[in-house]
Amino acid sequence: MSDLSLLVQMGFGALLALSVYLPLRCGQLSLATPGFYVIGGYVAALLSTSWSALSGDGAGYPLTSLALELVVAALVAAAVALVLGRPVLQLRGIYLAIATIALVEILRVLNLNLAWSGGAVGIFGIPQPFAGPGGYALATWVLLALVCWLCARLEDMRLGRAMAAIRDDELAARCMGIPSADVKLTAFVISAVIAALTGVLAAHFLNTWNARQGGFDASITTLAFVVFGGSRIWLGPVLGGLVITALPELLRPVGDLRLILFGLVILLGPILFPQGLITPERLARLQQTL
């Protein structure tokens, strides 16, 4: 894998980590992120391969079409999240986590069997809007920068503060007049949109999309990004996503042992850094010393 491709993958990791982080910021452990990632990927794959008007004059896939796919994927993901969010977000703690795992699994089985998703084979030959990994790296990191900006803004906004209040004590937050159900739903919808946008880029980048993308493993790996990096400030999941995605590649020199070492890192991370690598306190100390 070239360095630029790795950079793209790392960007995807950070984006998915932020998608898991947003519900977690209001105390909701939702593992639905890979499901919305898969939905975004299928939207991109289906639109770009079947809609001939989109595929341009043969001189490369037009960027305007890519932009259109991003909009459609965001709308689809938001609609699905709105419909599912209400009933699902009434569940708490581990029950919410498992209900969202169930959703991702149901989606996977449907995609594996239904005709329009290409079944087990999937969809091939997704057109390329960029000539090489460089273009993808740029697109991914622009999206990442936008999402980071949104998350950073959120910490100072009424919505972000409401989310933090619900995380600390939902009952107290509701007594203060915070509409907790609406706030949780908003976080869930934003999270879904981020995952779906990432899926659109990933489908083009990988050139193919199938039901093996984003299963249970992906749910847990993305959660590991957040826990490893730290779930109290947006910088944490970004760092976690970048580092853990790069890890198996960085460990390639150790050959067969790399996945064992990868497992050890995930095992020891929570024990050595229970708050994650980045906490607001560490960040403040760092700012003081600089």
């Binding site: 959703l103 497992g263 095992l267 991370g269």
Partner: protein, 310 residues
């Protein structure tokens, strides 16, 4: 046409395996309030150990290529020893991934990640040693038994009947032990309230280790049994079962032993009733049931409702 009785026995047999698996989760959940995501890896290890102990040879990949134990044990002894081996692995997982966090009163989310890390390490260790190929435990290890039984006009694989019997036996023994012995009562006391249990002189650390050993044993035996009735489809085969076992666990109600059994049987039967032309959807059945039950009854079928504190 496939006989209804045949469907029923197949469903009950796979349901019994899910139940064994879910019981392992339940034991750990009831004493610690967290889910051990390395359970699927212990299932894998149980399957591979059974295969090795009956004298199976390692395939061409992996570090141990071509290696084989000098002995070849009868299946039942191999299964019991594999269960014991998985129990030891369970103790190791507790010591590595759980105890350090417990000593710091860490939040439940962290256990989820660290146990998952332990699972990744174990599964890849198996892959490193034995390769990624699938193994099968030949039913000829059951020696004298016929391969199928004729029962009321239906042909039923002996393996399925054995699976059902063993699982029933283990569930019965576990229930008897939990309800009737001092050790079982002590475990329940820790599950109810660790602080009070400690005041009453119960070593809660020992009880937690016991829960891990038992859940490792159950997972290991389930792995060996599935290896016999289906096959050991590579080191990751425990993960899929682990995920479904998790669904079964929540369906029945977290921390409830009868719930785990009921959930296992419901999922097993529902999967067996999926008509063959829709067999592709079989893996989704457990999660579809789980999802609906969670929406209607968030505590699961037999779980206690969670009181929200004010």
């Amino acid at each position: 046409m496939v006989h209804l009785l045949q469907i029923l026995i197949n469903g009950l047999a796979s349901g019994a395996v899910y139940a064994l698996f879910a019981l392992g989760y339940t034991l750990v959940f009831s004493v610690l309030g967290v889910i051990n995501f390395a359970q699927g890896a212990m299932f894998t290890i149980g399957g591979y150990l059974t295969y090795l102990l009956i004298g199976g040879a390692v395939g061409a990949n992996g570090l141990l290529a071509g290696w084989q134990l000098p002995v070849s044990l009868p299946f039942w002894l191999a299964l019991a020893l594999a269960g014991a081996g998985s129990a030891l692995v369970g103790l190791g997982v507790e010591a590595m991934a759980f105890r350090p966090l417990r000593q710091r009163n860490a939040e439940p989310l962290l256990y989820l990640i660290s146990s998952l890390g332990a699972g990744v390490v174990l599964v890849n260790l198996v892959q490193l040693l034995m390769g990624a190929e699938s193994y099968s435990i030949p039913t000829s290890t059951l020696a004298a038994l016929p391969s199928a039984l004729a029962l009321g006009g239906a042909q039923i694989r002996t393996v399925q009947v054995l699976l059902l019997l063993v699982a029933t036996l283990l569930v019965a023994l576990l229930t008897l032990w939990l309800e009737g012995s001092r050790g079982g009562k002590a475990l329940q006391a820790v599950a109810e309230d660790p602080v009070t249990a400690r005041l009453l002189g119960i070593d809660s650390g020992a009880m937690i280790r016991l829960a891990f050993a038992l859940s490792g044993f159950l997972a290991g035996v389930a792995g060996g049994l599935v290896g016999l009735s289906v096959s050991i489809a590579g080191p990751y085969f425990g993960i899929g079962y682990g995920l479904k076992g998790l669904g079964v666990l929540v369906l029945g109600g977290l921390g409830s032993v009868p719930g785990a059994v009921l959930g296992g049987l419901i999922v097993g039967l529902a999967e067996a009733l999926v008509p063959s032309e829709l067999s592709g959807y079989k893996d989704g059945v457990a999660f579809a049931i789980l999802f609906l039950v969670l929406l209607l009854r968030p505590q699961g079928l037999l779980g206690k409702p969670v009181a929200s504190k004010v």
